[in-house]
Amino acid sequence: MSLRTTPFHPRTGPLSEGQAWRRWAGYVVASSYELSHDREYHAIRNSAALFDVSPLYKYLVTGRDAARLLDHVVTRNVGKAKVGQVLYTPWCDNEGKQIDDGTISVLGDQTYRMTSADPTLRWLHLNASGLDVKIQDVSESTAALSLQGPRSREILQLAAERDLSSLKYFRLTSAKIRGIPVTISRTGYTGDLGYEVWVDAAQAVPLWDAIAETGAPYGITPAGMLALDVARIEAGLLLIAVDYFSSRHALIESQKSSPLELGLGWTVATDKERYNGQAALAAEGKRGPAWQFTGLTVDWDSLEQLYADVGLPPRLPSQAWRTSVPIYDRGGHKQLGYATSGGWSPLLKRYMALAHLGSAHAEPGTEVRMEVTVEHRRRQAKAHVTALPFFNPERKRG
């Protein structure tokens, strides 16, 4: 038995040079295919990186009350979305604390596909009491590839034999790639130009081959989770169980966050009927959230100095990290919050982190201190609050 492999495994398996795998939602996926993830990262920003994102949970919601159900669950206005639109949205419990985030694709009139990071079937059913709606778990039957990077459009246009320039950011279209019916959405988790291709799991391998072969002359590079992690921090994108805890998994109240505290205020609809958490979010909005989710840029000179103090050149994390790190005020005494992800951006040449800061201290430009460990000793490096995202190329939306 052991762990499940994704429908692309016949292709991704042999590509793995170091057998570096990690778990994602009960599947094994590549941490990196090559021995180091550097080249895979650069492909995201330079050519095109191909990710296997099949482990995402996917649900097909259909029926007369499909939109009503989703509107009851998520914070964005699903009823207003048009066919072909994709919404990124969080969803909350009744106290307005975030449970998860994901996307909702409007596939047709009364047909929606929802993706999530955690299993969500039961929650959807709990919310569907009395509604005329069908909820199908299509996680296993639907495979997905994510093609991200400046050349992703060229590759996909060739593969699909059609122009994709009119497919706008967060829109989707159906297409055929070498005769395989797919849905292409202009979405991704890298903050770059990119697409996700959704396909029936049975057709996964030929789809992989089609895209990989078409992309070869354009430098298409299969990439793993390590490269993705750096890119998503640059893009300022949240990761559940790292940057926030699902309110349904939190063990104590203080582990919960609201969308407003996570920089997702823009997703909280004010123009729809009652939904889970609405009243609490409205009240919080009026009050102002206690926390903000922001970027931090660690001051290079400060870091260099800390290492110089012990006679070493500065050391940088070789991978993105996912631990909780205290953030202090400039005096170094009062704790203002904590960072939850961080790492070196090979593109921006800076040490970035994602952090939760008390609202009073989250203004971009605010100087703070981040704890770093230098030769077994705790030190504090200077850092500045930086608006998210760190990296936001024109081509993402253009």
Binding site: L3, R23, G26, P119, T120, L121, R122, W123, H125, L251
Partner: protein, 525 residues
């Protein structure tokens, strides 16, 4: 003759824990055990050459971690190995499995019900909280709500605060657990019958109740408490069987200077002017002691070791009313080879975990119906482990031992237990296993069948109740064993109780023994 500070009657694990703590505090302590060996219901015996049986209890999880640390039990040989899984064979040839790996378990549950797979995580979290909520109570001397003494009022207040501190949601869940049947409680979470059956089975263990009887949800929780503290995962198996747990505690007690005397049954506690002064052995010897502690169940402690005139009459009435109603039996087998189950053929990791014979709620409920009317279950609920798969030292190389915990076998069987009835009971067990693992019977080399009457005869546990008194709501906390006498003391000064019949109750937990020792030491100050 040596005058001991304390004599502990009974060398079960609770008596040994009490003795160890008293000795650790500098008291001179003597443990008197009726049998040739210590352990009581936690013993390992080589009944057939080369085959070591965990005669009665077989898995550990409830053993309080503070006892393991305080007595440094690993140094005395305690080694608890994880039990990896639970597999429930179903009557249609399918199975339900819970594996050590979360993702794998989720996937397995998903096969039965996608919704249950998700509910399972939330349920697990809730039970974790509930166990945590109850944990402080396990380590607390129950306050007496009928008393106006400042200590009791303070205790009640503390308890009230603790519960209110849980928050509404958890408080309500706790009320439900205290009052509901395990089937009803699980119904609120799951739809898969076999999952509910297997989970609810831990709610019936040691009770004369079925999964649909209110009160079983509490027993479910009682069995969840071992999943706490992260040290051991769920249930574990002690290397050498549960007898090794007793041996480790005995060794710790001796290292603190306690003496342990086996083949030394106690017939009476000596009482002079309302005060215990020592004990009389079954052979007539009198041994004096400053205090006497009994680890026997409440019926023996109050009605056998003492004369009625030493006790207020309402206490005698309360103890007479205390419910035992043993309902469990045990079948231990020596095997030539491991059985192959229809649902998961061959030999594999399923043999390193528990096999639960609880294919449906109705199956378990029917097993109870038989017992309700005085018969043993024709198709009983069983919890099976293969100790030799976890600790190869339990059987000769290549051979195996199989431990089958069985319910229901009522102590008060219609017509009473006889040798023939015992064998018929053994046959029912073996035949039921055979129905899930054809060919199994031919692998049996030796068999030992233990009825509740045998449990009573061997360990002294009245009516063979495995918890020294049912874990029913009206026999818990300040009502265990009787209102007013739940704080380990007795109406006879210098005579204390420390067995599973006191708060917090049965299982290889040691909590009663430890709390009693604390109470005695505090009294002595």
């Amino acid at each position: 003759m040596k005058q001991y500070d304390a004599i502990v009657i009974g060398g079960g694990h609770n008596g040994l824990v009490t003795a160890a703590y008293l000795a650790r505090a500098g008291k001179s302590v003597l443990v008197l055990e009726r049998r040739p060996r210590v352990g009581g219901a936690a013993v390992t015996e080589e009944i057939f050459p080369g085959f070591k049986f965990t005669m009665f209890s077989y898995v550990v999880s409830l053993l309080r971690p503070e006892i393991i640390r305080d007595l440094d039990l690993p140094r005395h040989g305690l080694h608890i190995l994880p039990l990896e899984s639970t597999v429930t064979p179903m009557e249609n040839g399918d199975y339900l499995a819970g594996w050590a790996d979360h993702d794998e378990t989720r996937r397995e549950l998903y096969r039965h019900s996608p919704r249950d797979a998700e509910a399972y995580d939330e349920y697990g979290r809730l039970m974790h909280f509930m166990a945590q909520a109850v944990k402080p109570i396990l380590g607390m001397v129950p306050p007496d709500p009928t008393s106006f003494a400042p200590g009791d009022l303070a205790g009640l207040l503390k308890l009230g605060k603790h519960f209110r501190g849980l928050g509404a949601e958890r408080l309500h869940a706790l009320v439900k657990l205290m009052t509901m049947s395990s089937a009803d409680f699980l119904d609120e979470w799951f739809e898969t019958d076999v999952l509910k059956a297997t989970k609810s089975a831990s709610g019936i263990i040691g009770t004369f109740l079925g999964p649909r009887s209110p009160g079983t949800a509490y027993v479910l929780l009682h069995h969840y408490m071992g999943e706490l503290d992260g040290v051991f995962r769920a249930w574990g198996f002690a290397k050498g069987g549960t007898g090794a747990v007793s041996e480790a505690i005995a060794s710790a007690a001796r290292s603190f200077g306690a003496e342990i005397r086996c083949d030394a049954g106690v017939s009476k506690v000596l009482v002079r002017t309302g005060r215990a002064t020592g004990v009389v052995l079954e052979n007539g010897d009198e041994l004096p002691a400053g205090i006497v502690v009994s680890s026997l169940d409440p019926r023996r402690t109050f009605l056998q070791l003492l004369e009625p005139e030493h006790l207020p009459s309402h206490l005698v009435a309360d103890i007479k009313r205390f419910k035992f109603r043993g309902s469990s039996g045990k079948v231990n087998l020596a095997l030539d080879a491991l059985p192959s189950f229809t649902c998961m053929p061959g030999v594999g990791r399923q043999h390193r975990g528990a096999i639960s014979i609880s294919p449906s709620l109705d199956y378990v409920e029917r097993a109870y119906d038989d017992a309700k009317y005085g018969e043993f279950s024709r198709r009983p609920y069983m919890d099976i482990v293969f100790p030799s798969m976890i600790d190869p030292g339990m059987a000769p190389p290549g051979k195996h031992v199989m431990s089958i915990f069985v319910q229901y076998a009522p102590y008060n069987l219609n017509g009473g237990w006889t040798d023939a009835k015992r064998e018929a009971f053994g046959d029912a067990v073996v035949n039921t296993v055979e129905s899930f693992a054809p060919g199994f019977k031919s692998q049996i080399l030796h068999r030992q069948v233990i009825t509740p009457l045998d449990i009573e005869r061997i360990t002294g546990l009245s009516e063979g109740n495995i918890f020294a008194g049912e874990l029913a709501l009206h026999q818990l906390f300040f009502l265990r064993p009787a209102p007013g006498w739940a704080k380990f003391a007795t109406p006879v000064r210098g005579f204390f109780q420390c067995g599973s019949g006191t708060h917090p109750g049965g299982g290889i937990m040691g909590a009663s023994g430890r709390l009693a020792a604390m109470r005695i030491l505090k009294d002595g100050k």
